[in-house]
Symmetry: C2
Subunit: 482 residues, 2 copies
């Protein structure tokens, strides 16, 4: 982290009723739809920026008016059965809560009556700056996002800005917020990013592995009952020629039987970092009694959830570029602007997919039904599986209904992966807990292509093609020229 975040801040602001945030009514021009925003600056009790460690990170701790009492009185309004049980976790720390999945999850949990704190170093925004990329959808600052949410709903989200690789910062966040559950999205989450050059490969593994180790130590030290909900990836399993189970497989070998961790075959330094995390977490569950749920998530698509749709300031990011864009989001943008859908290689690569509305459901289900002390539980978090060719066909068909003429072309595969393979991954545990999946064929029209079309004037076609090669990654640090 240090090598990417060399800026530091020694600013200290201590304000009673005056928020650090730009007063909400100054942003009103951005609020064009759906809801009136009520500015309530006087509700902020404490906002401070303080330097945690020189040259490392700084933290913003914005504690809004939501006292624990106020929030917990709202908890029973949550739709989930857990919300009415006082023994279930109520205070959820969302690490990486400014990111694509994290932001949607933070709002969803807040809406369901949980008390939510976001912990984020905002480095995802820095990656865009450094690589010259941008979300298709315009996204607001985390400060404005949280302010807007408060104005719309009356619900507060606490904000801790800093780096979880900085254990001092993380400790203070834990001691201050006292989470009952931690949802950990706070990792570098792009496979292509991890394959740009040596320094990004090293950064990805160091940032992800050490950050997660720190979270485990923070739970052990400060909140031993806290339930860790960790985002893994279906990519940890690779593409074995046998069915993929949920985390474990029972093997009979030479007449003896054991249930063991499912073998991992990750195919980028990013995916590998998640494999490392899984092993580390499993060990701490056994050795320390940590309670953990590993959500091996498939490829997420879509941008709108019930909460992010409430106001443009709450709008989620939508990545379509060759580094951070997931396959389906990219295809929708390509379809919207008349760019051929770029299928890598033969297109037989098959993966699990899910709507971001299901991501937020799954995380809430995991929190509401926590793992037992010492349990390392693995859920495969996706709803449908498709090959890339099938995705392209679905986008083509949906595009036709909207009057789009969608073409597809194969481009050389920048990755090293099987392009034709068996793939059958189990994903029943979250359904058993109550997941009601959204189906891609519906979402394509109501939550994907229409968004891509709405913002098509913001598309930068230079960002679409793959620029990172699995085989050509070198040690020289890559820079982006304008």
């Amino acid at each position: 982290m240090a090598q990417l975040l060399s800026s530091s801040c020694s600013l200290t602001i201590s304000s009673g009723n005056k928020p650090y945030f730009k007063p909400f009514d100054q942003c009103s021009t951005a609020f064009s739809t759906h809801f009136a925003c009520r500015t309530t600056p006087s509700s902020f009790r404490k906002i401070s920026l303080r330097e945690e460690k020189p040259h490392r990170s700084f933290s913003v701790c914005a504690t809004a008016v939501s006292s624990r009492q106020e929030a917990s009185s709202q908890t029973s309004s949550g739709s989930h059965p857990s919300s009415s049980e006082p023994s279930k976790p109520q205070r959820v720390m969302v690490i990486g809560g400014d990111g694509y999945c994290g932001w949607a999850t933070a709002l969803h949990l807040s809406n369901k009556g949980y008390e939510v704190a976001i912990v984020d170093n905002l480095i995802r925004r820095l990656f865009d700056n450094q690589l010259g990329l941008d979300s298709l959808t315009p996204i607001s600052s985390i400060h404005n996002r949280i302010s807007c949410w408060k104005s719309l709903t009356g619900k507060s989200i606490e904000l801790y800005i800093g780096d979880i690789c900085d254990f001092g910062f993380l400790s203070e966040s834990f001691k201050s917020f006292e989470p009952d559950a931690v949802v950990h999205f706070g990792e570098q989450r792009s496979a292509p990013y991890s394959m740009i050059d040596r320094s990004r490969a090293v950064f990805t593994q160091q940032n992800n592995v050490i950050g997660t180790l720190n979270v485990l130590f923070a739970i052990k030290e400060f909140r031993e009952e806290c339930h860790l909900v960790k985002l893994g990836t279906m990519g940890e399993y690779g593409t074995p020629n046998i069915d993929i189970e949920e985390g474990y497989i029972t093997i009979t070998h030479n007449g003896r039987t054991d249930t063991l961790p499912y073998p991992k075959q990750a195919s980028s330094f990013y995916h590998l970092s998640k494999v490392h995390d899984s092993h580390n977490i499993a060990f701490t569950c056994k050795a320390w009694g940590i309670r953990a749920t590993d959500l091996n998530q498939g490829v997420v698509y879509g941008v709108m959830t019930d909460e992010t749709a409430m106001h443009e300031v709450l709008c989620n990011r939508f990545d379509y570029d060759g580094v951070f864009g997931t396959a389906l989001n990219r295809f929708c943008v390509q379809g919207a602007v008349g760019h051929p859908l770029t299928v890598y290689g033969k297109g037989g690569q098959t993966r699990g997919y899910l709507d971001i509305r299901d991501t937020v459901q799954c995380v809430e289900l995991a929190i509401a039904n926590p793992a037992k002390p010492g349990e390392f539980r693995v859920f495969n978090q996706f709803t449908e599986q498709f090959s890339v060719n099938e995705l392209a066909a679905l986008v083509t068909k949906a595009g036709e209904k909207l009057g789009l003429n969608v073409q597809t072309k194969s481009v050389p595969n920048p990755r090293v992966e099987a392009e034709e393979h068996y793939y059958n991954a189990k994903h029943t545990k979250l359904v058993e807990l109550g997941l009601k999946p959204h189906i891609l064929s519906d979402s394509l029209l109501d939550s994907l292509l229409n968004i891509a079309i709405k913002y098509k004037d913001r598309v930068d076609t230079k960002q679409i093609m793959p620029t990172v090669s699995w085989r050509k990654i070198g040690v020289k640090t890559k820079t982006v020229t304008a």
Copy 2:
């Protein structure tokens, strides 16, 4: 690494015929046995200390007289069939070559006619200083060791002192030495060390994982044909209730079959770091065509090899303390000084063991029979398996022959591990390549207890008992008081 190695050095010495090393004849008082040492300071052609990066590490590059021509002319004198085949690797970089296994291996390979370079940051010596520990056997500086070896045999070993986590340093070492094979012992290798406190846990994973990533990138960038021989550990497998295979297991599941990486269940942050390495290396073999052999080594015992026995200055380290001491070495020291053998818990913990003379054989066999490009080969490197109780019984019996009255006592197990379990691990691949194992019952008398007795006056009994608890590890950095 940076947090433990904050010293830096800006010294630059450029000497023609004058070595940085203390002239050899000044050390002569230490050379009391076996061989006359011939001092040949004029043979050093180039020795320089140069700062690679501020605040990180510094490198000493000592290129001794051994020209490639000279060394390769000796190669055919090596006993192994490979040595006479010019296509086999001749230049071997031993990372961690100042450590317990690394030093013995470097000398063995040099003796067999390979051109050897040692790459080491000497941090193992710093660990001893910081924790107040010491080897039972007195060990010389790496500079004197190499000098002595040169004097005794005429064989040169190049020395690069620096940190492989510093890619600039590692790159220069690769470009300068141009290895055909890299033997990678350069990791923090103690499970208890990794469980002392959070900072050591993080250090262990960061140091080991990033160091290995750097080695992989260096091979890809500078020496793509170079064979990586990486030291793993049998501890990666844990203690499954089925037979342990060598790296892979063929699984038939729901009517389909695949051969997959053997599931890993490591039980310390150290063992986990090796699991992470294994996954990273496997990926680069597939993606980049790296050729790699992972030696999943058992617990090593013994101190003498043919080469280290040649002179006291060459003597290897012998750790018996609760942090770095392996079980059998510790038992021998306990037997020698009349301390009860400390069996952790029930003593049914069963592991693979091997004599250090077999470690050096195995590494040479791996180098002489390299993996193919793109192959990730795993050998289980041990010769016999014992429970801790069986070890204690063997030491007791051998002690009796030497007139020792050896007692055994159970102490609370500081680790989290099964104390009674099934254990049957395959280890045939190295035997198929020609390994001739030493048997513990022989070695106990000729290479273990006698060494412990010889140096028993150096034993610090305070070091023997376990001081690190798997369950009590905390975030506060532990310091050692006198």
